[in-house]
Amino acid sequence: MSPSAVPPPAVAPARRGAHADLLTELNRGRSALAEVRHDAAIAFGPSMRVERFVLGNGLKVLLLEDHTAPVVCLQTWFGVGSRHERPGKTGLAHLFEHLMFGETEDVAHGAFDRLLEEAGAETNAATFLDWTYYHTNCPKDALPLAMKLEAGRIARLVLRDPQVSSEKEVVANERRQRVDDDVDGSVSELLYREAFKKHGYGWPTIGWMADIQGFTTDDCTAFYRTYYAPNNASLVIVGDVSPGEALRLAQEHYGTLPPSTIPIEDVQPEPPQTEERRSRVEKPTPTQKIAIGYKGPALGDFDHAPLVLLNEILFGGRSSRVHRALVQEQEIASEVRGWVGSFRDPALYDVFLSARGEHTGAELLAALDHVLEAVRRDPLSQGELDRAKARLELGTLQGLETVSGKAEQIGFYETVLGDPAALFDKLYAYRRVSVGDLLRVARRYLIDSSRTIIEVFPDGTAEDDDEEDAEEEVAA
């Protein structure tokens, strides 16, 4: 983030002596790895505060007390995602996310979930381009169990067949469901593959099918030893818990884990795109579709906030420009949507348009280009900008309703930008965006020569027949 994007100081240096008595007590008799220090008290919006602590082994503990209900969300964010893989081994971060629910030296296969469910907890995990995280929602009484099990699988996971083979099958089925048999999923995968020729954002997080099926247990073990270490993780705890209890549990369960040497990422910056790229696919879908990826800014870039606002004006709701033009006035689209990628490195501004009836992708693209030409040429109105800001403010607040919503924002921004409260930095940045900023980002990013287009055509099998009597009775 450039200096001018920095909001009023949200990160106050830790006051001398903050938590001093507590830390002295907690550190008494602990090893160097388990010693905990207070790193920062960080304002999380106008009325909440995240405390960041660090253990001697490098594990970050981010704590937000929320005593509105007797529940806690525990999330562990690792700084590893599909971008850290290499060609031929794509999908390993995601497969590994599945394997982390398996056997450890202390817990039999299947027992991880069983023990937590029995305690009333719910678990899940997610992997994306920049990160992987593990999530447990639990009643407050179950936090000790949850942290014990979490730490156990970071340190003592057992990787062997037939569990690895079985989980590969599950992931292959997940891929069929989310990508191969899903028009949106397969088009998105193709869009990123065509848009990124060098950078790791070009391969899918779930991995290519051949790679998924080719993984060995040794691949998984090597990945585990490389990336699953306390100094590559942030533990986020939000809910009805005190700092003393949370830190004591962190020391007890994570304080023996040694740090690793995290490899320097061999990142390959994407060269500038100077020509439009187009691909065409056929799918068993009733109407033509078109996906467009404009090269966009990284999450931490000064331009990210104005581009998010511009997207809101173009695609946010029924009063947005593209919805109004393509869906309501011209009636050539049944669905339009846009999304500004939120990644560490520059990624895509994704646009997806689905044609109505016999209308074509070419018509959709021409109509979109007409709208985009206008926003590159003339300033948008202050009213449109104000409405977009109000929509984003509501969306930000809605994401904070539950303990898991708060934990997810804290973990995401800590992992990608190094600031657990950057969600609010974003909100402050939205407030400062001017109509001129919108004009600048429209002219900088909505460029034909840096876009990638996927055209989707029905494969000829779909027919517009709405007659129920098309059902065919077959003798059993």
């Binding site: 949106d184 709701g317 009836g357 509501l394 077959v474």
Partner: protein, 433 residues
Amino acid sequence: MSTATGTAPAVHIEPSDALPIVSVAVTFRSGSAHDPEGREGLARIFARMLRRGAHGYSSQQIEEAIDALGAELAADVSVSSTTVHFEVIRRSLDAMVDLVANLLARPTFDERELSRLLRESEAEIIEARDNDRALASRAFRRTLFAGHPYGRRVSGHIATLRTIGEGDVRAFYARHICRANAIVIVSGDVTDAEGREVAERLLAGLPEGERVADPVPPPVAKPGRHLVFVDKPDRSQTQMVIGGLGTDAHDSDHTALFVANTAFGGTFTSRLMQEVRAKRGWSYGASSRVGFDRQRDSFTMWTAPAAADAPPCLALQLELLHTFRDEGVTDAELEFVKRYLVRSHAFDIDTARKRVHQRLEAELYSLPEGYHEHYVDHVQAVTREAANASVKLRLSEDDLVIGVVGTHAEIGEVIAKAIPRLASVTVVPFDVE
């Protein structure tokens, strides 16, 4: 706090100052079950028309006003209800209440907007053919509840949408949108008194009216085993839903069946998930559910195996259902699932929105007294005998509907062969509706 006297609108408020936002839902006890024969989709079209013109506001002006206030508005229709709900930043609450009260009391039902919406809705029906899971669900419900309101599609069909006119929309509005048919819930950054004032202002422009009777009769089981195969090209994977009639919230064994089903397919480590996913890796997801509405709804098992695994997966699920009925749940399974349900209950009520929605549900479905308030006690009281008796009584192996989305030429025959005692097979092109 709540009020629900006579035919006055029921109002429930759940204050919380955790965030500066307020959530409101105005629900009417009428939904797609009230669509006239041949006009399926009417309730949903009516609900969507509410934001497409009101006294002093065009459709575009309504959208811009909502956005400017930092609000979201949605209109949803289910079989038994029509709900207008909104969420708004606290500072804009008054203005948003005025706007929504105007939408409810003085809609214009402009003919051009209606034509536009009907064309949009047709396009959405076509677009929905891309969603295999939804295709499986519709085929299943259409077959299980054939001729019953629960078997209808809430969004209607292209043919029925083409019969809907302005008069139909106005007639639906006149009959169903009145104070006596309404339930209002408010949660978030308001006091109880403020919430009540919000509810009163929202309904102020509506006639008193009468509560509309529920036209839905109890569904009757479809005898025999029936396969409905939705044929879609190039499927590497199938979506399968297997089931029959399930539970009614007023059944004396309702909680017992709910608990037994949770052990069978309601958690990540349940029997179904273990057998299908953990042991065999056949499907990313595997679950079962007993839902309810005002009447008995369905029991369903869901999986999504690769095409080649679909026949053995289907056979396995039928076997698991047989064992479930025959032997029921074990003591260990029952104890486990009761602990899970009781302890995880904290997450059913951890936000004001969830708490007030429980009260809406109780009103809307006329749930037995204390349904949510005594949930934990009810779960604790379930015995193994009661759980297993409910499974045997309520779930059938003989009367089953199996909905499958796949490529019929490749797996249609083997799927049918995997189902013993199959009474009928219906093959439906995926683009039939």
